[in-house]
Every structure is written in structure tokens, then in C-alpha cells.
């Protein structure tokens, strides 16, 4: 079980690194998907090792996947909008949210 949890932790850190260092907005979204997957691995591992008869972990993972799909759809629509309005999706191109 330790190895599964460690794998999830390392995958989460890789995603974190991607979110912190990517310049491309789509790259940031991809790294977010990696982090979602790390969380899912954790849930399924705990489901298998701690409460296999209740299936709560798998249920939670299904809902996480659905929310990730919704997030990807809205996020990529926003990315397209940014591309159309600012001619590029690099994160240093747009700073309208700064005050």
C-alpha cells in the first residue's frame, strides 16, 4: 500500500511542478489532470486496502472524474476565449486580473 501512496504523491508533485512552471495555459490544465489522477489513485488504494466492501473510494473517484471532465470543458473554453482576445495563451500575456 505504501508504494501506491508514494506513487500518487510523486505524481501529484510532478503535476504541481507543471502547474508552477508552465507558461502555456493548456500545459497547466494538463498538469491539473495529473494531480486529479494522483488523487484518484489514492482514493482507489484506500478503497482496496481499508474498506473494500463499502466501495466509497471508487464512488468518490467516479465523481472526481466527472468534475474533472466539467473542469476541462470550461477551462478549455476559457483558453479559447483568451486566445481569441489576447492572441496567445501564454500566462505572461494576460494580466487583466491584476490590480
Amino acid at each position: 500500500m505504501f508504494y501506491y501512496l508514494a506513487l500518487a504523491a510523486i505524481l501529484f508533485s510532478i503535476g504541481l511542478f507543471g502547474v508552477l512552471t508552465r507558461r502555456n495555459t493548456i500545459g497547466i490544465l494538463m498538469s491539473l489532470e495529473l494531480m486529479f489522477n494522483a488523487a484518484n489513485i489514492n482514493f482507489v488504494t484506500f478503497n482496496k486496502y481499508i474498506a473494500a466492501e463499502a466501495l466509497l473510494g471508487e464512488m468518490f473517484a467516479i465523481f472526481i472524474i466527472v468534475v474533472a471532465a466539467a473542469e476541462a470543458a470550461v477551462g478549455l473554453a476559457i483558453v479559447l476565449l483568451i486566445y481569441r482576445n489576447w492572441n496567445g495563451i501564454d500566462t505572461d500575456n494576460y494580466n487583466v486580473m491584476k490590480w
Binding site: 504523491a9 503535476g15 512552471t21 500545459g27 495529473l34 473494500a52 472524474i65 470550461v74 486566445y83 481569441r84
Partner: protein, 171 residues
């Protein structure tokens, strides 16, 4: 892996593929190659799910992540970047800080997992019964009926939101 050397070999292979392709996703220069490595990574995560006896989840993973989200990402890549000419660095000036933060996070998380004792008294793989998918479907329709409906409304809202956002405004 303590039990079953074959399971252990499969686990090490899958985790190697996951980590290498995940690192490729965050480090490659060409964003399209990143998307392809993301597909490989998600596929291997589905393999991990099968290893953990969550077959339904593996199928959902392949259908939704590999089938839908990756295609969406690849479409967005092709709609926004001109792939052939893009050879500039894809990462910003925070690489050192990001590397430090993520490595620190990984080390502390693994240390915490190693030190914690919450799961140790049950560190034994339990058998998931054959009818797990039936139980999953039943509890989705009884115990989890409210989150199920809420998540469907969420999907509808996301769909409408994406259409409204990406629509070209007529003037």
C-alpha cells in the same frame, strides 16, 4: 509490493511508465507531444486501477480521460498554437522555485505516509467481491442519488458554460 511477484512486476512497470510520462508532460517543449504523453500516463493509471481491482473505474478512466478529455486537450492545442513554429521555451522563470517546492512536497508527503500509522493496522489487500460493479450501481441509485443528480446538473451547466464562452459573438 509485498504480495505476488507478478503483480509487483506489473506495478513497477506501470509506475515507471506513469512517472516518466508524467515528467514528460510537464517538461517537454512541444505541447502536442505533452498531450500524447498525457494519454500514455492516463492509460497507465487505468492499469493501476485494474491492479487495484477497480475494473469499472479503469473503464471509466479510459472512456472519459483517454477518450474525451485528452481529445479535448489536443483539439485545444491545435486550435490555439501554431505547432510547427513553436520552439520557444514552454516554462517560465520559476523553474528552480517550482522544482524546490515540488520536491519538498514529494519528500514530505512520502515521509508523512511512511510515518503515519492510521492505515498500518489494516495494511492488507482486501478482496473485492465479484459483484462489486452491481453494488456500485445500486449504491449510485440509492445512497448516492443526490450527488449523482447534482453532478448531472453540474455537467449540464459546464456544457452550457463552455458553449456560451466559446461562441463567437455576432455584432
Amino acid at each position: 509490493m509485498t504480495d505476488g511477484s507478478q503483480v509487483g512486476i506489473v506495478f513497477w512497470f506501470l509506475s515507471f511508465v506513469i512517472l516518466v510520462s508524467g515528467f514528460m508532460v510537464v517538461s517537454l517543449k512541444n505541447i502536442f507531444h505533452c498531450a500524447l504523453f498525457l494519454v500514455l500516463c492516463l492509460f497507465s493509471v487505468a492499469g493501476i486501477f485494474i491492479l487495484l481491482e477497480a475494473e469499472f473505474l479503469a473503464a471509466v478512466q479510459i472512456l472519459i480521460y483517454v477518450g474525451a478529455i485528452s481529445i479535448l486537450l489536443i483539439f485545444a492545442v491545435m486550435l490555439t498554437t501554431n505547432m510547427a513554429t513553436k520552439k520557444v521555451s514552454q516554462s517560465n522563470e520559476n523553474v528552480a522555485v517550482g522544482l524546490f517546492v515540488s520536491i519538498t512536497f514529494a519528500m514530505s508527503a512520502i515521509l508523512l505516509i511512511d510515518k503515519t500509522s492510521v492505515w498500518r493496522y489494516r495494511d492488507q489487500a482486501q478482496n473485492i467481491s465479484e459483484g462489486a460493479i452491481v453494488a456500485l450501481g445500486k449504491s449510485l441509485m440509492t445512497q448516492f442519488i443526490l450527488p449523482f443528480e447534482v453532478v448531472s446538473v453540474l455537467l449540464l451547466a459546464a456544457m452550457i458554460g463552455a458553449i456560451v464562452l466559446a461562441r463567437r459573438e455576432r455584432s
